[in-house]
Symmetry: C2
Subunit: 99 residues, 2 copies
Amino acid sequence: MSSKILDEHSAAHVAELFRAFSDTSRVQIMSALLDGEKNVSVLADLVGISQSAVSHHLRGLRQMKLVVARREGKEVYYSLVDPHIITLFQQGIRHIQED
Amino acid sequence: MSSKILDEHSAAHVAELFRAFSDTSRVQIMSALLDGEKNVSVLADLVGISQSAVSHHLRGLRQMKLVVARREGKEVYYSLVDPHIITLFQQGIRHIQED
DNA sequence: TCAACATGTGAATATATACTCATGTGTTAA
DNA sequence: TTAACACATGAGTATATATTCACATGTTGA
C-alpha cells in the first residue's frame, strides 16, 4: 500500500539514517572509508579534525551499524560493510556532482 | 580516481543533501509526496504539524530543488520531480524496513 | 474593493548537535 | 609493571535547527 504516509516512528528511523550523513565531517569519514578500511588517526588526518571528534562520529556510525570496527593491536580499523549503505551514500555523492 | 577523500566543499554539499531528509517531519512530507502531489494544508494534516512549519520545511526542500511548487488558485501543490531523489529517499525507507 | 482563505516568512525560543578538553580504557614493548 | 601510544568517552560550550507566533503576501468571489 503506497497511499499511506510513513508513521512517525518509521519516519524518525529514516530521518535518523539520513542524519548520519548530514554532517560534513561524517561525509568525509564515509568517503575515506569507501576507499577501504582505515584507522582512527588516519581518518583524523585525512578529514582534518581531532582524533576525539573522529571517535565521537565513529561511535554514532557504529551504533547505527553503518561502519564496523576491527582492533589490530593498539589501532582500530573502521570499514563499511553494508552494500546498501554504500550504494545509498554513493548516490548522494553522484547527485551533487550532477548539477 | 576513488583513492581521494571528498574535499570539504563537496562533502558539505553531500551533507546538505542528506540533511534535507534528516528530520522526521520532512521525511513524512516526502513520503506523502511519494504518493503524488499535495497542497500545503493537506500535508500539514497528514503530518500533524502546523501549516507554518510545513511551509518552512517546504521552503528548504524547494531551495534544494527536491520538490517543485505549482500554484492552483489559492492553493500551492508540491510534488517530487527528480527520479534520482525519489530513488535515494526510497532506498532510505527500504533500509530501515530491513533490520 | 473587501472579506475570506491559503500560503509564506521573520523573529523568538527551545532543543539538538559538533567540537574541545580532560581523562579513562586497552594494548604493547621494555 | 610501567611507560608510551591509540582510541573512547563524559562534560561543557557554542552553534544549528525545528517549531510557534504574529503577521505579510497572494488569490478568489461577492
